[in-house]
């Protein structure tokens, strides 16, 4: 359907920079997710793709044609909004048919009915949006966005108003539908799970800039920056900040070998930490049963360290003494600028006064 390319794209509001020169290529039929905290410029980017906002710098290209000055109505883009934005005075069928009003198509009603069947709202065509549940409204919004066979489908936090179970169903539904139609899709979300489960590629944004582009696995296991490491993953990654001297970070009688000096941050995911015979001594302070697993937090010389155990019955209680261990290759090391120092790992040192 369409390749999309952003070149040095930026959007400046009166006093603030929302998007600060981003470059990105999206392949035809690709499903990408733009992930980031609120205010990172992800929705602004989406609305620039839609033609709702005009960029203040850079270029947007659809299949090599610059579309910066092309109005929303002429871009052939479908959008699903967080609020769904269904027209309240129209029935479901009229909502889905609305985009076809402005195109010369034969038998628009049949097309709308087909699309309604595809998103499974064929039974609800005479209802008003106010008579639909959140999930049904979501499907109608999707049908309306897709009925004109857009070059590009834009999804703005489409699942954030749904309850947890429905969100799970809609994630795979949206994936199925976009794949079936082969439409290039950009999803904007602050939910990492949504981004990583639905998209082929995830673009992580922060403060108007792209931090990292990659697969879900890249972002999780090989984050390039401290921000990506801390934004992705739940429960969040353990971050130990310290000053590296003689290739190690010390706290009291404990030390972690880093092989690097200067301002360092060591990142270790909670599920990579195990309780062992020997290791970093800690006192259990928090026990949280999360269903399949238990999240603990132990007080150590390096601060509170979170770790997970895959049991449903807690093995430790508040105040228990444990020794924490981890594999060096599962650690991440970040330098002063918050950039990851590749191929360098952290390793627990031998207790100095042992």
């Amino acid at each position: 359907m369409a390749r999309v390319e952003l070149r040095n794209l930026s959007k400046v509001w009166d006093s603030s920079v929302a998007v600060n020169g981003i470059d990105l290529s999206i392949a035809d039929r690709e499903f990408v997710a733009i992930l980031g905290p609120s205010g990172c410029g992800k929705s602004t980017t989406l609305f620039m793709l839609a033609g709702v906002y005009m960029p203040t710098g850079g270029e947007i290209r659809f299949d090599d044609a610059v579309v910066n000055d092309v109005e929303a109505r002429d871009r052939n883009v479908g959008i699903v909004f967080q609020s769904y934005a269904l027209y309240p005075n129209m029935s479901v069928l009229q909502n889905i048919m609305f985009p076809l009003r402005f195109q010369k198509v034969d038998n628009p009603e049949a097309k709308a009915r087909d699309m309604a069947d595809l998103v499974q709202v064929g039974e609800l065509l005479d209802r008003r949006p106010s008579q639909l549940s959140g999930g049904q409204q979501q499907r109608v919004a999707l049908a309306r966005a897709l009925v004109k066979r857009p070059n590009l489908l834009l999804l703005d936090e489409p699942l954030s108003n749904l309850d947890a179970t429905l969100r799970l169903t809609m994630r795979s539904e949206i994936r199925r539908i976009t794949r079936e139609l082969g439409v290039t899709t950009v999803l904007v979300t602050h939910d990492q799970l949504e981004a990583t489960t639905m998209a082929d590629r995830v673009i992580c944004m922060r403060a108007g800039q792209i931090e990292q582009v990659g697969s879900a696995e890249d972002l999780y296991l090989r984050p390039e920056t401290l921000f990506v490491a801390s934004f992705i993953g739940s429960p969040p990654i353990n971050l130990i900040a310290g000053e590296g001297r003689n290739g190690r970070v010390e706290a009291g009688d404990q030390r972690i070998e880093t092989g690097q000096d200067g301002q360092l941050t060591i990142g270790i995911r909670p599920e990579m930490i195990t309780v062992a015979e020997t290791g970093l001594p800690g006192t259990i302070r928090v026990v949280e049963a999360m269903g399949r697993e238990i999240l603990y937090a132990a007080e150590t010389n390096f601060g509170l360290i979170r770790f997970l155990e895959a049991t449903s019955q807690p093995r430790w209680r508040d105040g228990d003494q444990v020794a924490l261990a981890f594999q060096p290759e599962q650690t991440l090391l970040f330098g002063a600028e918050g950039k990851r120092i590749a191929d360098h790992y952290a390793k627990l040192g031998v207790t100095t006064d042992a």
Binding site: R73, Y87, F102
Partner: protein
């Protein structure tokens, strides 16, 4: 009576009392007084000698040929027609039509500029009626000093006398320019309460400016528009102050409310016929009620009052 019941009753009295007194004292009692007075012979002396229907006989006369056995007397018929024309054109052209145009254009303008234009339109409402009327007198002045004639003289057209040649147009415009601002305010806030995403969605769906107005804005304005229609209809039906201030007791603009005013309270116009004025007012009240109920039915306003009608996500 138990103490909680007593408290309930006293609370009800406390909360509803002032409003009830207001309703009864300022709305219900005057209607009853009007009803009683209209069937008397009260005049300047404010004395009632007899109860009679003669006031109504000044308005209608028995007739074999007419529909209900009554025929409207010409002065009354004329007042009725003038009222209808005046209310209809002021309502449709200005209070609704122009208010809608103002609301649509000023909301389309960027924030500050739109606000400025709306503030300008509110100015006449803020100025005293007499000042506003004096301005209109200057605008339609038949001599070379009149604003309209000054503008016309630039284009080479001769002076005109609107008060003589188009009296209804003068009172429609004078009331309309001031009346449009209320509709403008209500419609502006209604337009602003439409979720912005609906506009974005419509644009992305391929809608142009006019389609957005037709499919997104107008449906959202249905309820405010019916409210303005009913409210302004009733207000216009009984309004006379600008007509009186600009036109005086002229026959050409003697609407029902003007007739009632000039026959009773207006100075130096053969006033003091209180019972006659009351009869005219009674007819105005009946017309107002009938039309309000009809519009109520037509626009299904019961629904408007039972639940909020502007849907916001």
């Amino acid at each position: 009576m138990s103490s909680s019941k007593f408290r309930q009753a006293s609370n009800a009295l406390l909360f509803l009392g002032p409003a009830s007194l207001f309703l009864i004292g300022l709305l219900l009692v005057p209607i009853i007084v009007d009803l009683v007075v209209s069937f008397t012979d009260m005049n300047q002396t404010i004395k009632v000698d007899e109860f009679t229907t003669k006031q109504f006989r000044k308005l209608v006369k028995p007739s074999e040929e007419a529909w209900f056995g009554f025929e409207l007397r010409s002065s009354f018929y004329r007042a009725l027609m003038l009222s209808a024309i005046y209310v209809f054109f002021t309502l449709t052209i200005f209070n609704i039509g122009f208010a809608l145009v103002l609301a649509l254009t000023t909301t389309a303008l960027p924030g500050r500029l739109g606000g400025l234009f709306r503030a300008i339109w509110l100015l006449p409402r803020m100025s005293p009626s007499v000042v506003y009327a004096l301005l209109w007198l200057w605008v339609v002045d038949p001599t070379d000093r009149g604003l309209l004639n000054q503008i016309l003289s630039i284009t080479g057209l001769g002076p005109i006398n609107p008060k003589l040649d188009a009296p209804i147009m003068v009172i429609v415009c004078a009331n309309g320019f001031i009346g449009a601002s209320m509709g403008m305010l209500i419609l502006t806030s209604a337009i602003r309460s439409i979720p912005e995403h609906l506009f974005h969605a419509a644009r992305a769906d391929g809608a142009g400016g006019l389609s957005v107005i037709r499919h997104i804005v107008l449906p959202a304005l249905r309820w405010p528009l019916s409210y303005i229609t009913v409210f302004q209809f009733l207000a216009l039906l009984v309004s006379f102050e600008y007509i009186f201030l600009i036109m005086g007791p002229a026959r050409s603009t003697m609407t029902m409310s003007m007739l009632s005013y000039t026959k009773t309270l207006a100075p130096d116009t053969g006033s003091g016929q209180y019972a006659y004025g009351a009869a005219i007012t009674l007819i105005l009240i009946v017309i107002g009620m009938a039309v309000a109920l009809l519009l109520w039915r037509l626009t299904n306003m019961k629904q408007l009052l039972t639940q909020p009608r502007i849907e916001v996500q």
